[in-house]
Symmetry: C2
Subunit: 328 residues, 2 copies
DNA sequence: GTGAAAGCGCTAACAA
DNA sequence: TTGTTAGCGCTTTCAC
């Protein structure tokens, strides 16, 4: 690959002048022309790493997520990629498999590559990311908060979503509404339980066995649903707290020959590629793509020097702003 | 962030010695100890960009794919990420939306960041990538070939898959087997049509209207299926050439109230998260994740200096090797 | 085995 | 407006 020196020599100017042309500084037109000609002739591309070493900037953003195979994160990634690409940034895909060790490895990568910031869906509390915040790198949490007041966040309105999911059952005339959620260490799992409980309590509450803390995976939804069905007094409706568990739960129903007429299912999240939503199934979409887009825009703003206090952006099912909160 | 000089000073050695410790060269044990202590104390991380500028190497690989939201590419990405992470490399997610302009932009990113190679599912012939091959950067094509003998490739056995998908219908006693494929410019679409035709021709062929060149998207599958059903002499079975079109086709059937008993469906690819495969639906899985893993391993080998002639690795539905071909 | 010094390709002062 | 020069943080000769 050609260097700036070769371009300079071919164009008959100094490397500094080439640099100026590259960076849109004012240069006398004839010089500019010959520099551009030389660039074209040599097929020259400025070296980002050399520039980066000098300017201490980098156009590389980390997207740190637990599972790219979960369609929620896939859509989120798509949204983030779209925005970052348009801004001339590249997205580094960091899949952690929900493992803190992998998170730490990727934190080190962010440091080693001097990435100016990251979009993060953390496993647990997110303390792995403290080093990055300490160094002043902006972080935008997505889907779940990071336990650090310096990080921005973009989230769905999980409470409202769970309330809507549960109220739908009520409107259908269901009276024994259960809930399958994720692990209690996960913020969204807790929030959705809170929404479910709020509605259920208004109608006199639900027995303890109606709440199952599962794991957000397909198999977890499957076994949770089986457990609910085997109860002495089984529910007539279930709120499922995420997309993958919903698939598991619906699979269990299908295999057991139980119709969604007998037991209604309402889902916090979008069912990926449902061939045709069975009757009795309701879905409260999660604006995954919009979360990714908003997070990317927020992060780019921070990188650009926005020093406002950290914000939490909450999006409703349509991806519209619910409210913006000041630092927690 | 601390630099190698600060570490050297704290450890009472020269930067060169610190560098040697970092790179595992032989250094007198006491020195090594004090250097390591200094590194720990300062929380020092070597700057990859500085090292990269000096060594002309980089641990960043581009994954260039048309659509991360297609579960096939999602799984492929997952496999590639897994392998590259273990090898200390990072994956840059390059989503092209099937647009050559975006491909070109990402080719420029690969150059600017001096990435040593890329995994590529190209739009069209893949000529966008010639500059990279000209510079000697190894490329591994996935899913579809690149029209360049210098690029390796890892693919599914699409011909065999389509044959199996079609023969399944034959075994079910179907007699009028149609095919919904992608655009003829796409290699996999052509291969799968070839497989379908091979089986169908053995049984006396199929009318022209039974072959639909659609577009690999959900809506394409939907409208293609509707078109087939409205034929004067509609088929009693359909081979659908990819996962997304299969979803569209099945949705159409469901909406029209046609059962898969009346019209069998056989799919080249994996149906993502099917709640329960309807009877009369058959699936020939595509080893997406394995393709990603193999491609990553192959690419890392090339980066590592493997200069054997370009190979095409073909994997069957289980992800096992079918054969390896010499350059085409 | 270790240190001094040069240089990777770029940008930013500073002079001219 | 332009060129000269120094330096970003590292690795790698080359002496010692």
């Amino acid at each position: 690959m050609a260097t700036i020196y070769e371009v300079a020599e071919l164009a008959g100017v100094s490397p500094a002048t080439v640099s100026r042309v590259l960076n849109g500084k004012t240069v006398r037109p004839p010089h500019e022309r010959s520099v551009k000609a030389a660039i074209a002739e040599l097929g020259y591309r400025p070296s980002r790493r050399a520039r980066s070493l000098r300017t201490k900037q980098s156009e590389m953003i980390a997207l740190i997520i637990p599972d790219i195979e979960n369609p929620f994160f896939t859509s989120l990634a798509r949204g983030a990629e779209h925005v970052t690409r348009k801004a001339g940034y590249s997205l580094v895909l960091c899949n952690t498999d929900d493992s803190p060790e992998n998170e730490v490895q990727y934190v080190e990568t962010v440091q080693a590559e001097h990435m100016p910031g990251a979009i993060v869906a953390a496993t647990g509390s997110g303390h792995s990311f403290t080093p990055l915040l300490d160094e002043g790198r902006p972080l935008v949490a997505v889907d779940r908060h990071i336990e650090d007041p310096r990080a921005d966040a973009v989230m769905a309105d999980n409470l409202a979503g769970a309330i809507e999911a549960t109220e739908w059952h009520v409107r259908q005339g269901r009276e024994r509404i259960a809930c399958i959620s994720g692990q209690p260490s996960v913020e969204t799992a807790r929030e959705r339980v809170r929404g479910w409980r709020e509605v259920v309590d208004r109608a006199g509450g639900a027995p303890d066995e109606y709440l199952i803390w599962s794991d957000y995976h397909v198999l977890g939804g499957d076994s949770a649903m089986r457990r609910l069905l085997s109860l002495p007094n089984p529910p007539d409706a279930v709120v499922v707290a995420n997309n993958l568990m919903a698939i598991g739960a619906l699979t269990a129903l299908a295999q057991l020959g139980v119709s969604t007429f007998d037991i209604g299912v309402s889902v916090c999240g979008t069912l990926p590629y449902v061939i045709s939503a069975p009757p009795g199934v309701h879905t409260v979409p999660l604006p995954a793509r919009e979360i990714g887009e908003r997070a990317a825009r927020l992060l780019l703003g921070r990188i650009d020097g926005d020093t406002e206090p950290a914000r939490t952006i909450v999006l409703d099912s349509d991806g519209a702003d619910v409210r913006s909160r000041e630092p927690r």
